[in-house]
Amino acid sequence: MEKYPLKRTGSPLGNTSPTYQSVNKKYTNENNKALYTAYDDMIDITTSGGGEAAARSLDDDEAMQYSISYGGMQDSAEIPGIGQYDDFHTIDWQRDIAHDRMRHRYLVKKKQDSIWNLIQGVHDACSGWLCVLLVGLCTGVVAGLIDIGASWMTDLKFGICLQAFWLNQEQCCWSSDETAFDSGNCSHWYTWPEVLGSTNKGAGSYLVSYLFYIIFALLFAALSASLVRMFAPYACGSGIPEIKTILSGFIIRGYLGKWTLIIKSVGLILSVSSGLSLGKEGPMVHIACCIGNILSYLFPKYGRNEAKKREILSASAAAGVSVAFGAPIGGVLFSLEEVSYYFPLKTLWRSFFCALIAAFILRSINPFGNEHSVLFYVEYNKPWIFSELISFIGLGIVGGIIGTLFIKANIYWCRYRKLSKLGQYPVTEVLVVTVITAIISYPNKYTRMSTSQLIYLLFSQCGISNTDGLCDYNRNFTDVNSAIEIAEAGDGVHKAIFLLIMALLLKLGMTIFTFGIKVPCGLFIPSLCLGAIVGRIWGIAIEQMAFYYPKSWMFTGECSTGDDCITPGLYAMVGAAAVLGGVTRMTVSLVVIMFELTGGVRYIVPLMAAAMASKWVGDALGKQGIYDAHIALNGYPFLDSKDEFQHTSLAADVMQPKRNDMLSVITQDSMTVDDVEILLKETEHNGYPVVVSRESQYLVGFVLRRDLNLSISNAKRMVEGICGQSLILFTNGNPPQTLGPPPLKLKKILDMAPITITDQTPMETVVDMFRKLGLRQTLVTHNGRLLGVITKKDVLRHIKQMDNEDPSSILFN
C-alpha cells in the first residue's frame, strides 16, 4: 500500500514517468516483491497483479491503473462529480495538476494504438492554443459590440440620426461638408429639441435637452441595474478583485457563466451610456474571463480541470485588457502583474497569442473609425526636456495622493453600504447616483461629454483642428507642419481650467460613490480622467511659465527659440498614468499600457518616473491598492503572494484541532459505511485524513468530504449489497473476514500523496508552501504520527489575527 505514496511523494511536481514505470514493473517482475515487506503489500500484489495475468495484458492493466488510482477521464465518468469542487471552495492545485499529468500520460501511451488515438493525442496537444485562439476571437468580437453599442447609446442622450438611427453623432455627420466645426453638428443629426420640432437655440431647447439627458441617463441606468438584479447579480462591479481571487484558486460558481457574460456586456453598454462616472475596461477583463471559462468547456482538458482552466483564464484576462486599451503587451503584463497567481511560461506565450488575436479582431472591426481600438489614442512625437522630469515626479506624487484618497474614501463608503441600511436599496441607489451625476454633469461641457472623449481632448495637442477652449492661445497658425509656437493663454484657456477643476472635483466625488454600485462598472477610465485633468492643468501652468520666463534654469535654454517646448497633453498622459498607478498600484503593465496608447517609446522614462513615484507615495500612505482593498473588504480567501509573513509562530500553533480536541480521522480498513456517515454528519470538515489505525495514527492519505459523500451515495445506488454495515476499505486487498455484506472499496478517491509537515515547521515556510504550491490543506505530523491539519482558511485566519484584524470576516466554506 504505502509504496505508491512513497514513490509519488518523492517528486509531486517533477517528472513522474520513471516512478510510474517502476510501479508498473513490479507487476511483471516477481522478484521485486521481496523488496516490500509490509504484509498488506503482499496481499495487494497477489490479488491485483497476479504475475502472468498482468504480464499478459500489460497495457490494459496500466490503463486501468491510471484510471483507477488517479481519477483520470474514465473515473470521473464513472461517478459524476468526483474531482470537482463545491461553490466557495478552494481548489487543490497539486491534485488537479497530477490528474492532468496522468491523463496526458494515458493519451501518450495510447497514441501508438490507432489513428484515432493519434488524432486524439494531437488534438489534446493543440487544444490549449486552439482554446485561446477562440477566446481571442470571441473577446475581440464582444469588445467591438460593446464599443459600438456604447458609443451609439451615449450619443442617444443628445439626439438621433433620423436617416440612419444606428449611427452616432460623429458617424452621422461623416460626410457632411462645410459645417462650422466647433458645434460638431450637421443637418443629418437631430438633437432632441429639433426632433420635437423646436429650434436648437434658446433657453427652452436647453431645458429640453437637459431633461432628455437626465431621462435617458435614468432609463439606461435603471435598465442596467434591473437586468443585473434580475438575471445575473454577479455581473455587477468591476470583477477584477473576484477574478484575482478565482485565479488564486477559489471557486465561485456562476461567476464566469453565460448569463453573467450576457448581462455584463449589455449592462456595461447601458451603464457606460448612462453617463455615470465609470469605465468599461475593468469589466472587459471579467467579460473576457467569462468567455474563457465558457469556451474551456469545449476542451475537456481545461473544462474539467480547475487548475488547468486557470491557465486559460489568465490568457483571457490578458485579452480583456488588450481589447480594452488596444494594448496587447500591456494586457499580458497586466495579467502577469495584477491578476494571475500561477503563471508559467507556457501561459505567458498563450496570453501573448490570445491578446494578439483579440487586438487584431477589434482593430479590424474598427469600432471608433480611427484605426485604433480605443477612442483616446493619440500620437505624439515631441521631445521632452530633461528637467521636466521633476514635474513628472511631482505629478506622480500627486497621483499617489489622489489614488490613496480615492481608495480610502471608496472603501469607507463601500463598508458603510455593506453594513448599513443603504445596502438594502441597490436599485434606488443606482438611480439616485445617476440622477445626481446627470444633473451636475450636464452644465459643464467637459463632464457632459463621455469620459473617453474628455481624455482624448486632454491628451491631444493644440493643433489647428482643435478648437476647444483649452486651445485658445493667442497664436496664429500659418503652417500645420511647422512647430507650434509658444503663446500666451487666452481667456478660453482660463475658463477651461476653471471648468476642468470643477470637473475634477465632480469626477472624484462621483467616482467614489459610483464604484461599487450594483451595475457593471470599471475604474480605469475615471482614474485616467482624474489624472489627465490634473496633468493638463499642471502642464498648462508649466507652459505658461516657459512663455513668461523662457530663460529660467528650469528650461535649460530650450524654450528660448519660441517653439512650444512644453506639451500639456504629455503632462495629461503622465498624470493619468500617475493616478491610475496610485489607485491600482500597477507599475510595469501601466507604463506599457500607456505607451501603447500613445505609440511613443520616447515617453517611457517620464511614465516610469511618475508610476514609480505614485506607487511609493501610495504605498507609504496606504498599504493596499484598490483591488486588494476590495478583496479584504469582501473577505475573499486570497493569499497574497506580495505580502511577507513576518511572525514567528509554528505550525503547531495554527493547526486544527487545538490541544484538547479530537482529530477526526478515518481508518483505512475498519470503519463501516454507517460510522463514516455519522462522522460526516457530526463534523463539517471538508476532508479527512485516513490513517492505518486510531491507535497508531500512521498516515495513509487524505480523502475529501465531497468525494466521500458522492462515492457512498453512488455505491448505495449502483452496487448491490452495500449497506450500513459494509466496511469501507481504502486498501487494495480484501478484508480479513469474508462474512457480512461486501466491502466498499474507495481507494480510487484517496489522495495518497498529501503534503505533510512536522509540527515544528515555522509558519513562514508553511505560508510559502501554501502560496507557491497552491495547497488546499497540509497535514501536520509529529514523530511520524498524524497530529492535525492546517487548511488555507486556518492560514488566512492566522494572518488576519496576527495583523490584528477580524479573522471571522473571511468568506469561505
Partner: protein, 189 residues
Amino acid sequence: MRTYALIILVTWMSTTVLCQSLSDDKRCKCICPKVSIVTNNTEIVDGERIRYVANVPPNKCNCMDVVITKIANQLNGKEGEFCPRCQCKYENRNTTIIKVVVIIVIWIISVLVIYMAFLIILDPLLNKRMKGSYQEHTNEDEDSSPGPMSHDMTVRGNVLNRVGHQQDKWKRQVREQRRNIYDRHAMLN
C-alpha cells in the same frame, strides 16, 4: 418603451429615405480656418473652423485636391497661403458593421426586457396555478445528486419540460446569487 417605439418608427423611415451620403465608408476630412483669414488680412484666427469632406482616394487626401476644388473662387489665388493652414486626414469606417451591431444590441436589450417583464408579471401568476406540481418538482431536484432519477426525468419529459427544468435550476442559482449579494452582502460590495 418610448424609445423603442421611436426606434421602430425611425427604422421604417430609414428604409425608405436612406440618403446615399450617410453610407459612405471612406472620407478625407480637412479642417481649415475661415477663408477670410487670407483674403482679409486684418482679421486673426477667431477659433472658428470649417471642415471639408470629400470621398477621394487616400493619396489624394490633401488640401489641394479636397479644399481648393471646392472654394477656388473665394481664395483669389491665395491657395499657397491658405493650404498650409489646413489639416487633412483620411478615415474609413464600416457602416454595415455598425448597423448590424446596433440592431443586435437593441434586439438583445428588448428580448431581455421582455423576458424580465414576463418573469416579474406573468410568472408569479402561472406559478400560483401550478403550485402543487411545481413544489414537488423542486423537491425532487433538491436531491442534488444527478443520478438515475434526473436521468429518468429527462428521458420521460419532453423538450418543454427540460427547458422548464433548466429554467428552474437557473432561477435557483440566481436566487442564491441575489441572496449573497443583496441580502447577506457577502460579496461584491
